[in-house]
Amino acid sequence: MGDMEQEQSAARTEELQQHTPSTASSVSISSSPSQSLSSSPSSGPYHHHQPTSSSPTDSDSPGAPSPTLDVISEGLTELTLVIDPEVAKKACQEVLQKVKLLQGEGEGSEGGPDHTLVNGTVHNKPTDTAAAGGGGIIKPRRIHEEDDPDSLTPGSVKSARRRQRHNPSKQSWLLRLFESKLFDVSMAISYLHNSKEPGVQAYIGNRLFSFRHEEVDFYLPQLLNMYIHMDEDVGDAIKPYVVHRCRQSISFSLQCAWLLGAYSSDMHISTQRHSRGTKLRKLIFSDELKPSGVRARQPLTLTPFNPLPTATPALHGHGVGAEHSLSPTKRTHQRSKSDATVSISLSNNLKRTASNPKVESSQDEPVRLTPQREFIKSLMGIGKRLATLPTKEQKTSRLISELSLLNHKLPARVWLPTAAFDHHVVRVPHTQAVVLNSKDKAPYLIYVEVLECEDFETSNVPVRISETRIRSTRSVENLLDCGITADQRAGSFSTVPNYDDDNEAWSVDDIGELQVELPELHTNSCDNISQFSVDSITSLDNKEPIFIAAGDIRRRLSEQLAQTPTTFRRDPEDPSAVALKEPWQEKVQRIRECSPYGHIPTWRLLSVIVKCGDDLRQELLASQVLQQLQVIWEQERVPIWIKPYKILVTSSDSGMIEPIVNAVSIHQVKKQSQMSLLDYFLQEHGIHTTEAFLTAQRNFVQSCAGYCLICYLLQVKDRHNGNILLDAEGHIIHIDFGFILSSSPRNLGFETSAFKLTSEFVDVMGGLGGDMFNYYKMLMLQGLIAARKHMDKVIQIVEIMQQGSQLPCFHGSSTIRNLKERFHMSLTEEQLQVLVEQMVDCSMRSITTKLYDGFQYLTNGIM
């Protein structure tokens, strides 16, 4: 039955599309119920089959089958309609009815669900007249109507309704909260997770539409994990939003699909196959959520929930954003087919012309998700193959040749999901790639050249520029800039007149001549000529000789060696050290000069770590917590510095990480420099009193405080120097959150110290008694207080992810409780200060007694 309906609805969809956008818009724009009903052409066909899918309740609500509902049911093709959509709608409307009631908008049409249901569009009236705040609420309701035909079981709805009736006051407070400006995504997620009331869940599901995309995106792992592992009510509340976003964006689709796969992986294999998560994933991968058919109707779904575009800022943003992304996409897609066919025929004809750069010109993928999936797949494939090779060196050279093959398939409509802007990948400078340090896996770091674009879905894929074209951009003149900055050159060669004893006879003219010659030596021209002038070595006797001191040459050599930013020595066992040490800007410059695409203004360089065989879900969780804490500290004006980095989970054992630029691990620093951390700071930034050093030291302290807190709160373990980076500004950055919360290496239980604080770190901070060390402790205290204030936001991120998870960090039953305890809600600020002192002390001494014991004693003693 369900299938039948799908086909029919698909057919109807086409029909609808042919019915010109004007019908759609007339439906959407209309605020009067009668108009909206009568003008919708699709309601006709809908009625034909409505009885087959809908339940008895259908008769209750004759006006309900709105065109929009019809539209969405097509979108959810994979679902069999076991639940009556009308019931869901009822429940939802009930909630909204309450809202209206509370608003007291003089409508008076309170309470009765029957009233509400008589006409699905009744609410538009109050909306129109409503204050700005109301618009945001009405809007999601429409969505809900459309998107969620099958959400709730009648039983639960009824009970919910009953409950609502019985607790009007509680409900009203809740609703007041929901409608208030304070209500943000975090709260929405929290209520979605905690509320047992389907109505509330459904409401929040709709409410998601009103938030900005980026805000919701932050909680995507949580949303999807709830979708997979929580009961159906929650899932049904979330789904419309997810489906809607998937239609809009390839990137979102893929991210959803990957996360769904990753978070479903802990389920038993038999349940997994039939789980809703797997189904949704399949749906996305099947590419049925493509906008092609849908886009034509988009205004239909879009505008109804956007009746007052200016009502709320969020709403406005959403509406505009959506429209932006939708209309052009549609256009492109139509064109895309012809482009693709043209280029296919072109590529077959490639043979006879000696050069035909236009062959691979812009073409859209007929299958929109495929290129990107293949791209990621091939990156992962490389990682898998590398893992089989025994030595780093073999891995590196294999990596380079693998990537050079990959290059032949670029540019393509592919992008790095970790990047912050839209782009197309045009080239992988394969020689720059390095294998990272890992025992048995082969994570590797690649640099990726991209061209920024308006929208990777619609902008044309850049034309391939053959590698050989590099020659044209790399003439001898340009080459001179490579590797040598202007001031480096200036200081590099100066023939200093040497007033040595035997040179007393120098005339003024000689010096004058020298001075004339000097600027010439400074400029490039000298070198330029040198390559071509055949005018050779014979002119020795013609000129007065120029003398230089051997000591000067030697001195310049050592000065320049010292001057050039300390580079690391190449180590075949640690190839990444050199690559990471090179300052990012220089690297960008260098690669740009060597790239055939380098001259294009929108050229950018990105980098990414490809991890294959590693589960990045914990990393993602940690990254979310870090981001949250960063926001909290910023909000509370605590000058703590941390650097969350982007994580992309593509499956439960693969993913990508955004590398931190200009940072190398402390292990690498120590191994390469063979000196203490403090000496390294002095070498890199200057002596104690310089501003550069002081800035670097402050950066170190601020970041150290942040990460110490994070290590404590999240119980980050396995803290060795290889997992702690040091950036060029002196910040430390912790990476690798493989052991957090309840898991620790080999599960030997807790490491005793709360965080890693070695005496070397303290030395950099200026010693135990120093100001900076006190500043460090103060920052920790402030940070802890601030974090405590917003504890819920942090806990919530973790708690939701615990659902259905087998991740080691959730091992045991007390993970969340322990996490909460670490925020010490019950302590006074003085007690917290003692705690911080204690922790620092303890970490310093690394005493094996349990920190918590000591603290317990202390607090108990006081209390």
Binding site: S347, L350, K351, R352, A354, S355, N356, V359, E360, E365, P371, S378, R385, T388, E393, Q394, T396, S397, I400, S401, S404, H408, K409, L410, P411, V414, H430, V434, S466, E467, T468, I470, R471, R474, L479, L480, C482, G483, I484, S492, D500, S530, S536, I537, T538, L540, P545, F547, I548, A549, A550, G551, I553, R554, L557, S558, Q560, R569, R570, P572
Partner: protein
């Protein structure tokens, strides 16, 4: 010279097998070589002729045996035969096409053998007739082009290439082959490119195509505008360039492999039981056994590509897994694999097989590495003419590479590290380096190693002056690049310094012998100026401050050599004579080296005296050097970082002329139509038709 033999050889080889068929076709040939038009009596004569199995030997002999009068008598019929051959090429009947191609071959060869003294125009007249020659050749080239580019039989394509190679090499001096003028007008360049860009075609015909291209490029290179030169130099199609690189790379790899196999054979069988001392006595024998026929044709192709085409340089660095097995794909991978990313069309075969073979022992390689290995083998032994030429060509190619900015960029790219196992000549005073221990370094280190290796191993009575010059110039060019771009290469410069000093020493000790043949001052000047580069510009490209000290140490340590050199050049330059001028240049160039020696030697001696040490250790000397820089003044010399750019035109023209001649002879010898046995062809076509 060898033509008679060859003909005899051809007869001998095939006569037994082809006897039964000989009669009929021979009769028909005989009919052609009478005055009357054979078609007169038999209107289907030509049709029938091309259905017959060709008897190459008879036809060639017949053509050869014609004397002047007979030529004039039969000219019309031979013209007619040629005309019908060309016409038949367009036919669908493949056996006829094959026979026509082979007949054409026989015609070209026969006519040339006969008319060794005759001018090219006579030949054209005899084959095609003056008035029709242009038309005939146009038709011929068009037919060949479409056969090569079409979807037809592989054997047929191979035969087309053989015919072209045959045509190109009929004369010893390619530039005297007047018929090629028509090949210039009717270019088959595009067909060659297509073969190179297509995976399966490249596997089968790539080698012939590349050799053909190399030869065509050398037709009247210096006299006229050769369209192949022009086209090759502007070609920028990546797949085609890659394809060409792969063909060259494969041929060189194959050579390297053969050499290695032979070497191992020898070592395993005979030498393993002997001590290295005893073994070294037999090296001369071993060398002969080890000599594998070098392949100048493919090297010439590499040279032309590197020299003429700027874009080809990128192909040199195109990494691919080392292919150790001669892989001529037996099954054509004709169906282009669906590109996973679905956007860009497939480019090349190795590039395209979606996954590389997973073999941990498989080293990543590239054309440049293969070439360096090849060079290291070829340079080992420069005694015979072929190898000397090969070595020279290798060095010329390296010169071109060292001059190219882009090539320099990837040679010095710190991110492209490779292990390059160069072959080293076994020598009495050194052990064969353990091959596995070569570290992975930027490619320029391998180039420098190769140069150092050459310098060290060729100081012999029969001094290869020219090669030494090129070798030192390559080093100079690389250092100029490093100086200009401030690249501090972590290379053990000491090895280079001591090699250069030893070279000077050798020049000095063999002064009289060498001066009789060579201008040794030129080489000495280059070597001293290399030292001057290090002395005056060391701050811009030396990797450590210590390396600058070591340079001084090395100079001071070997001061005797420089002193002697100075005495020698001073002596020569004060005497009037042909070497006065060049010797005085060396005198001038030595000024800084001498300043260093004169500055530090007394200091070191006094240090030894003060501390009562008879023999100073290296560290002590370095200490003295370090503490005495400031009182030393050097003279800045002009033009140290300038060099003459390589140009083929006046200087190398003779070399290339000879080289092409020898390649032509070699190719002609190897292009035997019988290798493509008719039986194979017939078998193939019997199934088709």
């Amino acid at each position: 010279m060898s033509q008679l033999e060859k003909k005899a050889g051809l007869l001998r080889r095939t006569s037994s097998s082809k006897k039964p068929l000989k009669e009929k076709v021979v009769l028909m040939y005989d009919e052609i070589f009478v005055k009357d038009d054979p078609a007169k009596t038999n209107p289907r004569f030509w049709d029938e002729l091309f259905l017959m199995k060709v008897n190459l030997e008879y036809l060639e002999t017949k053509l050869e045996s014609l004397d002047g009068d007979e030529v004039m008598k039969t000219k019309d019929n031979v013209n007619s035969l040629f005309h019908h051959c060309v016409q038949t090429l367009a036919e669908e009947h493949q056996i006829k096409v094959v026979n026509a191609l082979q007949t054409l071959c026989a015609l070209f060869r026969g006519v040339h053998q006969k008319n060794k003294s005759a001018s090219g125009f006579d030949i054209i007249n005899m084959l095609m007739g003056f008035d029709k020659a242009e038309l005939r050749m146009k038709d011929l080239m068009e037919s060949l082009d479409s056969l090569l580019c079409g979807e037809g039989s592989e054997s047929l394509k191979a035969l087309c290439l053989k015919l072209l190679l045959c045509l190109v090499t009929v004369t010893d001096n390619i530039s005297q082959n007047t018929i090629l003028e028509y090949v210039m007008i009717n270019s088959i360049f595009e067909a060659i490119l297509q073969i190179l860009s297509d995976v399966s075609n490249r596997g089968r015909h790539g080698y012939d195509a590349v050799v053909l291209l190399a030869l065509l490029v050398n037709y009247r290179k210096y006299e006229s505008v050769n369209p192949y030169i022009v086209k090759l130099s502007i070609m920028d199609d990546e797949p085609t360039l890659d394809g060409m690189g792969l063909v060259v790379g494969q041929a060189l790899t194959e050579y390297n492999r053969q050499y290695k196999d032979k070497e191992e054979e020898n070592l395993g069988g005979f030498f393993s039981t002997l001590t290295s001392m005893v073994g070294s006595m037999f090296i001369a024998d071993a060398d002969e056994k080890l000599s594998v026929q070098t392949n100048e044709a493919i090297l010439l192709a590499l040279y032309e590509a590197v020299h003429l085409n700027r874009n080809f340089i990128t192909v040199l660095a195109q990494s691919h897994p080392e292919i150790d097995i001669p892989t001529t794909p037996t099954t054509p991978i004709s169906t282009t694999p669906t590109t996973p990313l679905g956007t860009t069309p497939p480019s090349t075969d190795v590039m395209n097989s979606s996954e590389l073979p997973l073999d941990p022992n498989l080293q990543t390689s590239n054309l440049l590495i293969t070439f360096l290995k090849y060079s290291s083998i070829v340079m080992q032994d420069t005694k015979d003419e072929h190898r000397l030429n090969s070595a020279r060509l290798c060095l010329i190619i390296l010169t071109c590479i060292a001059e190219d900015q882009y090539a320099d960029a990837f040679l010095h790219d710190d991110n492209m590290n490779f292990r390059v196992n160069l072959h080293r000549m076994p020598m009495r005073h050194r052990k064969k380096a353990a091959e596995k221990n070569v570290p992975s370094r930027p490619l320029v280190c391998a180039v420098l190693d190769l140069m150092v290796e050459f310098i060290v191993t060729h100081m012999m009575k029969d001094f290869p002056m020219d090669l030494y010059m090129r070798c030192v110039q390559v080093i100079h060019k690389l250092i100029c690049y490093q100086k200009k771009c401030r690249i501090r290469l972590h290379y053990t410069w000491r090895e280079l310094w001591s090699a250069l000093i030893n070279l000077l020493k050798f020049l000095l000790s063999n002064e009289t012998v060498l001066l009789a043949k060579h201008n040794i001052f030129h080489l000495a000047l280059l070597v001293v100026n290399l030292f001057n580069m290090f002395i005056t510009y060391g701050d811009t490209f030396l990797p450590t401050s210590n390396s600058y000290d070591e340079l001084y140490y090395e100079i001071v340590r070997m001061h005797q050599v420089f002193d002697n050199l100075y005495c020698m050049v001073l002596r020569v330059s004060t005497n009037a004579g042909q070497w006065k001028e060049p010797a005085s240049k060396v005198t001038h160039s030595l000024v800084n080296v001498r300043a260093i020696i004169n500055h530090f030697n007394p200091k070191i001696e006094s240090y030894a005296a003060v501390n009562h040490i008879s023999q100073l250790s290296e560290d002590q000397v370095l200490e003295v050097v370090r503490s005495n820089y400031d009182t030393l003044t050097l003279k800045l010399q002009d033009g140290l970082d300038q060099y003459e750019r390589y140009s083929e035109q006046p200087k190398e023209a003779a070399f290339f002329k000879d080289l092409v001649r020898s390649i032509s002879l070699n190719v002609r010898k190897n292009v035997s139509l019988t290798t493509l046995s008719q039986d194979v062809l017939l078998k193939e076509f019997s199934t088709i038709s």
